[in-house]
C-alpha cells in the first residue's frame, strides 16, 4: 500500500484524429495537461484532501478552452450550452451532481455545493442554479463559454446532418 498520493486527469476521449493534430496543437495540449496536473499535485503535496485536489483540478480543466467543459464547452443543436458535472468523496460516498445548467463559471463547484449545502445528490436546471447563487459562486454570460472552434464544429455537424453525410465517427459522439 503506497503512502504517497496518486492523481490522474483527463481532457476527454474525443481527441483530434492523428492526421489533424498539428505539432503546435499537441504541444499546447501537453502544456495544458502538465499545468493542470500541477494544480492537483500542489494540494496533495501539502497534505490536502483528494476531494480538494479533484475539485481544483477539474476547475482548472473547465477554465481551459481546449477541453469540452466550462469555457470551451460544446454547443447543443440549438446553439446553446448545457453543462453537467459531478463530484464524489470516497471517504463517505457523499456526492453532488448537476445537469443541464448554464451560468456558473465552474459547474463542478455547483456540484460540490449540492453535495455540501443540500441533502440531495443530483439537481438540474434552475434549482441547481439557485444552489450556486446561494453559495456565492461566480456566474458568466454566454460569451464567456463561447469558442469559435466549438461553434464551427456545431455548424459543420448540422451541415453534414442536413446533407446526410454525417459519419459515425465515435469521437464526434464524445463532443
Amino acid at each position: 500500500m503506497s503512502t504517497g498520493f496518486s492523481l490522474a486527469i483527463h481532457g476527454g476521449a474525443g481527441v483530434l484524429p492523428t492526421a489533424d493534430m498539428t505539432q503546435e496543437r499537441a504541444a499546447r495540449t501537453h502544456a495544458a495537461l502538465d499545468r493542470i496536473l500541477a494544480v492537483g499535485e500542489a494540494i496533495l503535496l501539502r497534505g490536502g484532501s483528494a476531494l480538494d485536489a479533484v475539485d481544483a483540478t477539474v476547475c482548472a480543466l473547465e477554465d481551459e478552452p481546449l477541453f469540452n467543459a466550462g469555457r470551451g464547452a460544446v454547443f447543443t443543436r440549438a446553439g446553446t450550452h448545457e453543462m453537467d458535472a459531478c463530484i464524489m468523496d470516497g471517504r463517505t460516498r457523499a456526492a453532488g451532481a448537476v445537469a443541464g445548467i448554464m451560468g456558473p463559471r465552474n459547474p463542478v463547484r455547483t456540484a460540490r455545493a449540492v453535495m455540501e449545502a443540500t441533502p440531495h445528490v443530483l439537481m438540474i436546471g434552475d434549482g441547481a442554479l439557485e444552489v450556486a447563487r446561494a453559495a456565492d459562486l461566480p456566474f458568466e454570460d454566454a460569451d464567456y463559454f463561447f469558442t469559435q472552434e466549438r461553434r464551427d464544429a456545431l455548424d459543420s455537424t448540422l451541415a453534414m446532418e442536413a446533407a446526410g453525410t454525417l459519419d459515425d465517427d465515435p469521437s464526434r459522439r464524445h463532443g
Binding site: 496518486s6 486527469i9 495537461l33 496533495l44 453537467d84 470516497g90
Partner: protein, 133 residues
C-alpha cells in the same frame, strides 16, 4: 468532458467530472458524467473513476460502478477491472471512450478503446506524464 481522480496521503479517494456533452446534442440530453456509478464514482473501499466518451453506452453499462463491483466482489485489481469494462464490455456494445481510475492502494489505470484520450498522471515519488494517443 474533463475529469480528475485522486488518492491523498491519508488514503482517501475522490473523483470529479465536468462536461459540455456532445456537439449538436438535443436540449435536455444528459450523458454519464453527472450520474453516480456511470461516469463518476468514488469509494475508499476500492477506487475512484471519471469517464469520458459515448455517454449513453457508459450509462447502460454503469461503467464506474461495474469497476468497483469487480474489485469488491471478484477481487480483481484496478487495471484488470478497468480494462475489462472499457476494452471488452464497452467495445462489445459498440461504445467508445475511456476513463481514468485510481485505486485505494494508489494504483492508476487509464484505459480507452478509441483513437486517444487527453490524459495526465502523477504518482508521488514515482511516474508522472501526459499523453494524447
Amino acid at each position: 468532458t474533463v475529469g480528475a481522480v485522486a488518492r491523498d496521503r491519508d488514503g482517501n479517494v475522490a473523483a470529479a467530472t465536468s462536461t459540455g456533452g456532445m456537439t449538436a446534442k438535443r436540449a435536455g440530453r444528459v450523458g454519464d458524467s453527472p450520474v453516480i456509478g456511470a461516469g463518476t464514482f468514488a469509494s475508499n473501499a476500492t477506487c475512484a473513476v471519471s469517464a469520458t466518451g459515448d455517454g449513453e453506452a457508459f450509462l447502460r453499462l454503469s461503467v464506474a460502478h461495474e469497476i468497483d463491483a469487480r474489485m469488491r466482489l471478484a477481487g480483481a485489481d484496478l487495471d484488470t477491472a478497468a480494462r475489462g469494462v472499457v476494452i471488452d464490455d464497452l467495445t462489445a456494445i459498440g461504445g467508445s471512450g475511456g476513463l481514468i481510475a485510481v485505486g485505494a492502494d494508489g494504483a492508476i489505470s487509464l484505459p480507452f478503446n478509441c483513437e486517444g484520450m487527453y490524459r495526465g498522471w502523477s504518482r508521488e515519488g514515482d511516474d508522472r506524464g501526459t499523453a494524447i494517443y
